[in-house]
Amino acid sequence: MMLIVLLFIWSVMGFLSTYHTFKQKRVLFDDHFTMTICMVATMATSFVFCLYLILLLPDFQVVSVSFGLWIGWKIGSKLRNPAKLNGLYNGTMGGIMGTMLGAVIQNPALCNIPIKSEAMISNNIYVIAFFAACLYTVVLILIRYSFRV
């Protein structure tokens, strides 16, 4: 569990610094770029955060889905008005998908996956959480690089 908490803190720190950059530079975005960035940032962020939340709190599925919705609303309303709808939709989608993946890797019998032993399940959880953190870091680096271009 300690590794998941550390990865969650790492993702939150990356997200907060990117969100701060959004706040500073949102005047410079044109329409098309706003929609693209809103879609990309909301989808990746809500997916990763909801995956970690469902791994940390397995009994509160509603909390993680509504957390994804809240992230979409937050990023979308930071940018512009049509982006709010886009962010809401993509945030909810990412939240539902992250919750589903977290529920399946915690209980593989849901999907008929032939993994029985406890050690294999916890190993799977750590590998997928670490992989999601790596992917999210790559996406954040690409988003921050796109502000500079």
Partner: protein, 139 residues
């Protein structure tokens, strides 16, 4: 479904992807960013979906590894098709491929009748290819 048929499908998909990539890279000056964004999304998502379902049916005991492999295939395909056009198409295709690739092995594990789904997904893939060809010709 037999191993031999699945391997044939994998070879056919890789061949079609390479041919379509060469075709697109010769025509990319004619394609605007709107169509380019749709092409990179469709191609990245389709590659992730096909690889996830086919690989999990071929090796059902390696769920985590298959998830990582199909995500990497989706990310790389979306990024390659997006890099033909623009930075924004690149990042959109990358994210869409990642999202579908993380989900697709789950669909493969719950199937009761895998043959029908494999035929359906391949039919969808060919229909997408034909639609993209038509819209390139008309643009």
């Amino acid at each position: 479904m037999e191993m031999f048929t699945l391997s044939g499908f994998v070879c056919l998909d890789i061949f079609l992807y390479v041919c379509f990539f060469i075709y697109l890279s010769r025509k990319r000056k004619l394609i605007g960013f709107q169509l380019g964004m749709n092409i990179s999304q469709v191609m990245g998502g389709m590659a992730a979906l096909l690889s996830g379902i086919v690989l999990i049916l071929e090796f059902p005991f390696h769920f985590t590894l298959i998830t990582i492999v199909s995500t990497m295939i989706g990310v790389l395909t979306g990024a390659l098709f997006g890099l033909l056009f623009d930075y924004q198409t690149f990042i959109t295709g990358l994210t869409n491929g990642m999202m579908v690739g993380l989900m697709s092995p789950m669909i493969g594990t719950v199937l009761d009748a895998p043959d029908q789904i494999i035929w359906l997904v391949h039919g969808l893939f060919f229909a997408c290819l034909i639609l993209v060809m038509i819209s390139i010709q008309r643009s």
